[in-house]
């Protein structure tokens, strides 16, 4: 079984590395369509990572909502505004370098804190398998208020998006 375990471990690290490479692609590629595709791949990579943590439901939701819906909507918007995103136009503003430095600093500081912190791992949680039924019960029980709130926000966002994007009749 050791070989299998080792293989899985290598696989997970490879997955994480690949996801990071794709994420870099998301922010650096000139062509917005390419970066949206990279985003989709990154999201699928994250979903696979969720599977590693035995969060199957979340992985499925991630793919369904993010890849199936959000990325599609993004690509839709890219297509609608397409001829602006031509090669001749600069895709990047002038704060690249400061941004890069700042973020490197952020990562360094936070990473150091992360590694220094003794994380109190709760053994009960590590062993627990969360089924969809558990999630449902929690959503309808403990977290019913945020759940309803989110649905209200969703409706509001939906209506808002429709109204904002709707064309005025007069023109």
């Amino acid at each position: 079984m050791d070989i299998l375990n080792f293989g899985i471990k290598v696989g997970i690290y490879a997955l994480m590395a690949g996801t990071l490479v794709l994420a870099v692609g998301v922010v650096t590629l000139r062509n917005l369509f390419h970066s949206a595709l990279c985003l989709a791949a990154t999201l699928i990579g994250t979903a696979a990572l969720y599977l590693v943590f035995h969060a199957e439901f979340l992985a499925a939701v991630q793919i369904l909502l993010y890849v199936g819906a959000v990325v599609t909507v993004i690509i839709f918007a890219i297509m609608l505004t397409e001829h602006i995103a031509e090669r001749s136009v600069a895709q990047r503003n002038r704060q690249s370098l400061p941004a890069l430095l700042g973020i490197l600093v952020l990562i360094a500081v936070t990473g150091r804190i992360l590694l220094k912190t003794p994380w109190a791992v709760n053994p009960a949680t590590v062993g627990a398998r969360v089924t969809v039924a558990d999630l449902g019960a929690a959503l309808m029980g403990t977290y019913v208020f945020p759940f309803e709130l989110v649905s209200v926000i969703l409706i509001a966002a939906l209506i808002g998006a429709v109204i904002v994007a709707k064309k005025e009749k007069s023109s």
């Binding site: 439901f57 499925a60 369904l64 199936g68 599609t72 297509m79």
Partner: protein
Amino acid sequence: MNPAMSFLDSIFVNLKLWTLNLIGHFLPGWAVILASIVISGVVILCLGPVIMMYLTLLERKVVGRMQNRYGPNRVGPWGLLQPIADGIKMFTKEDIVPTNADKVIHLLAPIVIVVPALMVFLVVPFGRDMTAADLSIGVLYFIAVSSVTTLPIFMGSWASRNKYSMIGGMRTAAQMISYEVPMTLAVVPVIMMSQSLSTASIVNAQEGLRWFVFTPWGLAGFVIFFICTVAECNRPPFDLPEAESELVAGFHTEYSGMKFALFYMAEYMNAFTLSAIAVTLFLGGWQGPFLPSWVWFFTKTFALIFAMIWFRATFPRFRVDQLMGIAWKLLLPLTLVNMLVAGLWYFIPGITGWVGAAVILAVSFLGLTALNKPVIPEKRVYLLEN
């Protein structure tokens, strides 16, 4: 069940177990696990394309018969080798890439589109204990994976740099996102009743002849789900993304040769898997008397595929706004009513619940169609003048 039947019933399962045992004699434990995965994977990887090839033949045959002609009958007996001839033709065709195309994505799109189509096979229960991976979130997995299909179609349409492709891609996005909603909601009553997301246990919940389709909410759910599956795999009358009379070939206008074949393959495999899932969810999966379980499964699935082909032979295509209208104004409210009805049916046992559920569904269907004025055919009068 007599022994011969149970032997036939579990023939494939036993075959795999036997192979794994054989491997277990020679190789360590991890290799057996690996072999188990590989066997399932290889079976699915072979099954998908073979099914696709013969679905094309079946479609051409059935449509031909419906149009009073023979369909392919030249290559091999009854045209049985036609798919192979088509495959050879596809392989030998020139692969044309437009000059302005985004070459990498143009290449990637047909490859990527096959992946979700094949991945759905994983949760399809082909027979008793014949699910490749009985995931605890099976149905959700299927919905999630099949929703990814939009992306490669988008890639193909965008990378082709063709206006027809572009419009086809836009239509795909709109259509698939819209029809995912009623499709997902149509599944909800099934999950409510079987109290599980796993495809295998959903089939088990329809033990005997208690198929969900025999209940009012099940029938309504099945019809809605099936309509949505037809729309999801872009088959007529919902084949707007590739509407050949308007958009030449829609999103795969600029594809030829093997790349085109891959698009085609994905479409047919989707047709198969979606029918299979519909069978699993509503028609009792592999449940059925007398025959081995997998025979039942394939019979039902092919019956649904036949219905898809039948649709194709009969119907004109919808227009894009009507397509959306049907998803949002007719199917979506119906699924919501259906969920309510399923609850009622569950809590009011006996004939009262049954009739009540049926009446509510019928009334809401009639009400919704009456409200959807633009889609209702008008009465027309034609004068006959001298």
